[in-house]
Protein backbone atom coordinates (compact mmCIF):
# COMPACT_ATOMS: atom_id res chain seq x y z
CA UNK A 1 0.00 0.00 0.00
CA UNK A 2 1.25 3.48 -0.88
CA UNK A 3 2.49 5.64 1.99
CA UNK A 4 0.95 9.09 2.38
CA UNK A 5 2.42 12.34 3.67
CA UNK A 6 0.29 15.26 4.86
CA UNK A 7 0.94 18.44 6.85
CA UNK A 8 0.55 17.78 10.56
CA UNK A 9 -1.70 20.77 11.14
CA UNK A 10 -3.29 23.78 9.46
CA UNK A 11 -5.07 26.87 10.71
CA UNK A 12 -7.81 28.75 8.92
CA UNK A 13 -10.57 31.28 9.53
CA UNK A 14 -14.26 30.91 9.02
CA UNK A 15 -15.36 31.56 5.45
CA UNK A 16 -11.99 30.75 3.91
CA UNK A 17 -11.26 27.98 1.45
CA UNK A 18 -8.91 25.34 2.83
CA UNK A 19 -6.70 23.14 0.69
CA UNK A 20 -4.96 20.13 2.22
CA UNK A 21 -2.39 18.41 0.04
CA UNK A 22 -1.34 14.78 0.39
CA UNK A 23 1.71 13.18 -1.23
CA UNK A 24 1.60 9.56 -2.34
CA UNK A 25 4.60 9.09 -4.60
CA UNK A 26 4.36 5.31 -4.97
CA UNK A 27 0.67 5.08 -5.74
CA UNK A 28 -0.13 2.08 -7.94
CA UNK A 29 -2.05 2.18 -11.20
CA UNK A 30 -5.24 0.72 -9.74
CA UNK A 31 -5.18 2.61 -6.43
CA UNK A 32 -7.87 5.09 -5.43
CA UNK A 33 -7.40 8.17 -3.25
CA UNK A 34 -9.82 8.58 -0.36
CA UNK A 35 -10.24 11.24 2.32
CA UNK A 36 -11.79 10.83 5.74
CA UNK A 37 -12.75 13.33 8.43
CA UNK A 38 -12.65 12.61 12.14
CA UNK A 39 -14.17 14.70 14.92
CA UNK A 40 -13.13 14.17 18.55
CA UNK A 41 -14.74 11.13 20.17
CA UNK A 42 -16.12 9.88 16.85
CA UNK A 43 -15.05 7.38 14.23
CA UNK A 44 -13.72 8.66 10.90
CA UNK A 45 -16.28 9.63 8.27
CA UNK A 46 -15.83 9.18 4.53
CA UNK A 47 -15.64 12.51 2.67
CA UNK A 48 -14.64 11.91 -0.92
CA UNK A 49 -12.82 9.53 -3.21
CA UNK A 50 -11.21 9.89 -6.62
CA UNK A 51 -8.97 8.27 -9.17
CA UNK A 52 -7.86 11.18 -11.39
CA UNK A 53 -8.65 14.79 -12.33
CA UNK A 54 -11.37 16.37 -10.19
CA UNK A 55 -14.20 15.03 -8.08
CA UNK A 56 -16.76 17.22 -6.32
CA UNK A 57 -19.55 16.42 -3.90
CA UNK A 58 -21.67 18.41 -1.49
CA UNK A 59 -18.89 18.49 1.09
CA UNK A 60 -15.59 18.94 -0.75
CA UNK A 61 -13.61 18.77 -3.96
CA UNK A 62 -10.68 16.51 -4.69
CA UNK A 63 -8.03 17.51 -7.20
CA UNK A 64 -5.66 14.88 -8.57
CA UNK A 65 -2.94 15.81 -11.07
CA UNK A 66 -2.12 13.65 -14.06
CA UNK A 67 0.80 11.86 -12.38
CA UNK A 68 -1.43 11.03 -9.36
CA UNK A 69 1.51 11.40 -6.98
CA UNK A 70 -0.39 13.90 -4.89
CA UNK A 71 -3.94 15.01 -4.24
CA UNK A 72 -5.57 18.09 -2.75
CA UNK A 73 -8.70 18.14 -0.66
CA UNK A 74 -10.49 21.46 -0.97
CA UNK A 75 -13.04 22.58 1.62
CA UNK A 76 -14.98 25.66 0.47
CA UNK A 77 -15.84 28.36 3.00
CA UNK A 78 -15.01 26.44 6.18
CA UNK A 79 -16.88 26.94 9.42
CA UNK A 80 -15.95 26.27 13.03
CA UNK A 81 -17.58 22.85 12.73
CA UNK A 82 -15.01 21.81 10.13
CA UNK A 83 -12.36 21.67 12.84
CA UNK A 84 -11.29 18.04 12.68
CA UNK A 85 -8.55 15.68 11.60
CA UNK A 86 -8.45 14.90 7.88
CA UNK A 87 -6.88 11.67 6.64
CA UNK A 88 -5.69 10.90 3.13
CA UNK A 89 -5.67 7.19 2.33
CA UNK A 90 -4.76 5.08 -0.64
CA UNK A 91 -7.06 2.18 -1.37
CA UNK A 92 -5.49 -0.67 -3.30
CA UNK A 93 -7.52 -2.47 -5.89
CA UNK A 94 -6.08 -5.78 -4.71
CA UNK A 95 -7.40 -5.46 -1.20
CA UNK A 96 -9.66 -3.40 0.95
CA UNK A 97 -7.70 -2.86 4.13
CA UNK A 98 -7.07 0.75 5.01
CA UNK A 99 -3.87 2.10 6.49
CA UNK A 100 -4.21 5.50 8.13
CA UNK A 101 -1.38 8.02 8.09
CA UNK A 102 -0.91 10.73 10.67
CA UNK A 103 -3.61 12.98 9.25
CA UNK A 104 -3.90 16.78 9.20
CA UNK A 105 -5.40 18.62 12.16
CA UNK A 106 -7.40 21.55 10.83
CA UNK A 107 -8.24 24.36 13.25
CA UNK A 108 -10.88 26.81 12.08
CA UNK A 109 -10.96 30.07 14.01
CA UNK A 110 -13.72 32.64 14.26
Amino acid sequence: LAKTTQPISMDSYEGQEVNITCSHNNIATNDYITWYQQFPSQGPRFIIQGYKTKVTNEVASLFIPADRKSSTLSLPRVSLSDTAVYYCLIFGAGGFKTIFGAGTRLFVKA
Binding site: Y32, T34, S41, Q42, G43, P44, R45, F46, Q49, Y87, F91, F96, K97, T98, I99, F100, G101, A102, G103
Partner: protein
Protein backbone atom coordinates in the same frame (compact mmCIF):
# COMPACT_ATOMS: atom_id res chain seq x y z
CA UNK B 1 -24.13 3.62 3.45
CA UNK B 2 -24.01 1.51 6.62
CA UNK B 3 -24.61 2.29 10.27
CA UNK B 4 -22.20 0.72 12.74
CA UNK B 5 -22.91 0.27 16.41
CA UNK B 6 -20.49 -0.87 19.08
CA UNK B 7 -20.97 -2.17 22.59
CA UNK B 8 -19.86 -1.22 25.15
CA UNK B 9 -19.19 2.44 24.46
CA UNK B 10 -16.69 2.53 27.30
CA UNK B 11 -15.42 0.34 30.10
CA UNK B 12 -12.93 0.36 32.92
CA UNK B 13 -11.30 -3.02 33.48
CA UNK B 14 -8.81 -4.57 35.84
CA UNK B 15 -5.48 -5.76 34.51
CA UNK B 16 -5.40 -9.46 33.71
CA UNK B 17 -9.05 -9.60 32.69
CA UNK B 18 -10.56 -9.74 29.20
CA UNK B 19 -13.15 -7.59 27.45
CA UNK B 20 -15.19 -8.47 24.39
CA UNK B 21 -16.33 -5.63 22.14
CA UNK B 22 -19.26 -6.17 19.81
CA UNK B 23 -19.74 -4.56 16.41
CA UNK B 24 -23.07 -4.66 14.61
CA UNK B 25 -23.72 -3.43 11.07
CA UNK B 26 -27.21 -2.61 9.84
CA UNK B 27 -26.59 -4.24 6.45
CA UNK B 28 -24.52 -7.02 4.98
CA UNK B 29 -20.99 -5.93 4.20
CA UNK B 30 -18.02 -7.57 2.58
CA UNK B 31 -15.27 -6.31 4.83
CA UNK B 32 -15.01 -5.63 8.55
CA UNK B 33 -11.97 -4.28 10.33
CA UNK B 34 -10.80 -3.53 13.84
CA UNK B 35 -8.63 -0.53 14.70
CA UNK B 36 -7.01 0.90 17.80
CA UNK B 37 -6.56 4.62 18.38
CA UNK B 38 -4.63 6.25 21.19
CA UNK B 39 -5.88 9.72 22.22
CA UNK B 40 -4.53 12.32 19.82
CA UNK B 41 -3.06 9.68 17.52
CA UNK B 42 -4.01 8.14 14.22
CA UNK B 43 -5.72 4.80 13.79
CA UNK B 44 -3.77 1.55 13.77
CA UNK B 45 -5.26 -1.42 11.98
CA UNK B 46 -5.40 -4.49 14.21
CA UNK B 47 -6.94 -7.04 11.87
CA UNK B 48 -9.39 -7.82 9.11
CA UNK B 49 -12.34 -9.84 10.36
CA UNK B 50 -13.06 -12.55 7.80
CA UNK B 51 -16.50 -14.12 7.69
CA UNK B 52 -16.32 -17.82 8.39
CA UNK B 53 -12.55 -17.99 8.76
CA UNK B 54 -9.71 -16.78 10.95
CA UNK B 55 -9.00 -13.06 11.06
CA UNK B 56 -5.99 -11.61 9.26
CA UNK B 57 -3.75 -9.80 11.73
CA UNK B 58 -1.40 -6.90 11.09
CA UNK B 59 2.19 -6.91 12.23
CA UNK B 60 2.41 -6.55 15.99
CA UNK B 61 -1.01 -8.03 16.72
CA UNK B 62 -1.64 -11.70 17.48
CA UNK B 63 -4.69 -13.88 17.79
CA UNK B 64 -3.98 -14.92 21.36
CA UNK B 65 -4.13 -11.31 22.50
CA UNK B 66 -6.89 -10.07 20.20
CA UNK B 67 -9.15 -12.97 19.21
CA UNK B 68 -11.74 -11.93 16.65
CA UNK B 69 -14.92 -13.61 15.55
CA UNK B 70 -17.14 -12.90 12.58
CA UNK B 71 -19.98 -15.41 12.45
CA UNK B 72 -21.93 -13.63 9.70
CA UNK B 73 -21.87 -10.61 7.37
CA UNK B 74 -23.24 -8.12 9.89
CA UNK B 75 -21.53 -8.91 13.21
CA UNK B 76 -18.05 -9.19 14.66
CA UNK B 77 -16.41 -9.25 18.07
CA UNK B 78 -12.96 -8.27 19.26
CA UNK B 79 -11.66 -9.56 22.58
CA UNK B 80 -8.82 -7.82 24.35
CA UNK B 81 -7.28 -10.58 26.46
CA UNK B 82 -5.17 -10.50 29.60
CA UNK B 83 -5.31 -6.73 29.63
CA UNK B 84 -2.59 -4.42 30.83
CA UNK B 85 -2.63 -0.61 31.18
CA UNK B 86 -0.91 -0.43 27.77
CA UNK B 87 -4.14 -1.73 26.22
CA UNK B 88 -5.97 1.42 27.30
CA UNK B 89 -7.17 2.92 24.04
CA UNK B 90 -10.15 3.49 21.80
CA UNK B 91 -11.11 0.45 19.74
CA UNK B 92 -13.04 1.06 16.53
CA UNK B 93 -14.85 -1.25 14.21
CA UNK B 94 -15.36 -0.44 10.55
CA UNK B 95 -17.24 -2.09 7.74
CA UNK B 96 -17.67 -1.55 4.07
CA UNK B 97 -17.79 -2.77 0.53
CA UNK B 98 -15.32 -1.61 -2.03
CA UNK B 99 -13.35 1.50 -1.25
CA UNK B 100 -15.70 3.14 1.24
CA UNK B 101 -15.63 2.25 4.91
CA UNK B 102 -18.00 3.23 7.69
CA UNK B 103 -16.84 3.46 11.26
CA UNK B 104 -18.47 2.79 14.57
CA UNK B 105 -18.34 5.31 17.41
CA UNK B 106 -15.59 3.38 19.17
CA UNK B 107 -15.15 1.72 22.55
CA UNK B 108 -13.07 3.62 25.08
CA UNK B 109 -11.18 1.12 27.21
CA UNK B 110 -9.31 2.01 30.37
CA UNK B 111 -7.26 -0.68 32.11
CA UNK B 112 -6.30 -0.08 35.72
Amino acid sequence: SAVISQKPSRDICQRGTSLTIQCQVDSQVTMMFWYRQQPGQSLTLIATANQGSEATYESGFVIDKFPISRPNLTFSTLTVSNMSPEDSSIYLCSAGTGNEQYFGPGTRLTVT
